[in-house]
Structure formats: structure tokens, C-alpha cells
Symmetry: C2
Subunit: 139 residues, 2 copies
């Protein structure tokens, strides 16, 4: 108990840091009417070829379960940030595609998020930011 395992300390600190970070990001994004999770969805879609992905792909890309994705997408479809498409080869998969409106919201939100992210890592020098990104990629 006196000498704490550094790995455990790292894990606990990170969990706290990350939870606070997401809360702040959510706050920034609330101006655009979307949550950090929704931003993640839009982000992944905008990076995807033809800006569309299956729900399962989205789930793993943003770290949610399949059911989480289903429910998260419902309101986004309703306000037409995304739309459903069928997959010709497999009738089970229902593709999610970014609409022009969704694209626009994403670009707006991205600015806020860019700003936030830049601010968030600003205690580190550019060199350190690079190192951090590199180390995290290996986990």
C-alpha cells in the first residue's frame, strides 16, 4: 500500500483524466447540439470511404456496443445528420451514411473540438504532444 504499482496509478489517473476530458468536450460541443459520442460518429463517417459504415464498424470505431449505436443513431436520423442505406451484398447490414447536413454540422463542431483539443494538450510542448500520441498508439 505504501508503494503503489506505477501501472495501476497510471490507469487510475488516466480514467479520471479521460472522464473529465469527455465532460469538457461535451460542454464545448453542446453549442452545436451534439454530444461527444455523436461527434465521434460523425468523425468516423467523414473519414470513411464514401462516408458510410455499417453499424458494427461504427460501434468498434467509437467504442460502443451495437445497441448503443442503434439508439444513438435514432435521433441523428430523425434530424437527418445521417441516413440509412442498404448493402446490396448483405441484407443484414444497414449502412449509415453522412448527409450533407451532417457533414456541415461535423465541420462546424470540428472547429470547436479542434480548439478544445489544442487547448487540452497545450500544457505539453509540441514535441511532448507527439511523444504522447506515439505512446498511446502503442496501447
Amino acid at each position: 500500500m505504501d508503494t503503489l504499482n506505477p501501472a495501476l496509478d497510471l490507469v487510475l489517473r488516466s480514467a479520471l483524466l479521460w472522464s473529465n476530458m469527455v465532460k469538457k468536450a461535451d460542454q464545448q460541443l453542446s453549442v452545436h447540439g451534439i454530444s461527444f459520442s455523436e461527434f465521434g460518429i460523425l468523425h468516423q463517417l467523414s473519414l470513411a470511404p464514401q462516408q458510410r459504415l455499417s453499424r458494427i464498424e461504427l460501434a468498434t470505431a467509437v467504442g460502443l456496443s451495437a445497441s448503443g449505436i442503434t439508439r444513438l443513431l435514432q435521433p441523428m436520423e430523425k434530424i437527418q445528420l445521417v441516413e440509412k442505406e442498404q448493402n446490396a451484398r448483405d441484407a443484414r447490414v444497414s449502412l449509415v451514411k453522412l448527409t450533407p447536413a451532417g457533414q456541415q454540422i461535423y465541420l462546424d463542431a470540428q472547429q470547436s473540438c479542434d480548439f478544445f483539443a489544442t487547448q487540452f494538450v497545450s500544457p505539453l510542448t509540441p514535441r511532448q504532444q507527439e511523444t504522447l500520441a506515439d505512446l498511446l498508439k502503442r496501447l
Copy 2:
């Protein structure tokens, strides 16, 4: 869109990484009948002087709201991992104290969590783990 802001990329990657990490940690801890949040509570209490903290202190230490703490502690009090104590100087605060049973569960769970944490950071060399911990502390 072509060249993504590295800071934004870092933030999004981290969110995914930590969310997956917490899920795995939760799985490891389920053997002991506690969640990662509950482990965090026990951990903070075991580090605290006299192993007791106010609910507000706990909240900020583990990254939850005051109401989150209230509800999280209810079952823990019921199975006597922690107990209530009054603060002599301020009747508003209700201190939370680790019981011997709670201490024992914590020590057991800590072993699992140590193991998990060590495994989690094992893709990095000890030197890199140190660097990572150091960089995260500055955020």
C-alpha cells in the same frame, strides 16, 4: 479534413482507448463483486488519512458528481465496505470511512487490478511507461 489536427486525433483516440480500458478493468474486477468506480472509491479511501473522506472529496477524486457518489455508496454501505461517520466541526459533511471488510476487498481487488494494469501498459518499455505517466500528469 485531409490533414487532421493531431491534438484532435489524440483526444479521440484516447477516449476510445480509455473507454475500452475501463471495460476490461470492470471485467477483471467483477470477480471481486465490485466495479471499476467502486474500486476507485476504495482506492481513494485507502490512501486517505484515517481512511476517510467527505463525499465531495471522493467525488472530485474519482471524477463523479456528488449525487453519483451518494448512489454508488448506498450498496457499499449496505454490504459494509464503508461506513458513515459524522464530522464534529461541520454537521453538513458525512464522512465515508473504509471498514476492515472494505480494506480486505480492496487488497484482493488491487491484486487483480495491478495485474491488469501491468498487462495493459506492457506494450511499452518501463522507460516509456514512465514517460507516459509523466506526460499525463501534466494534463
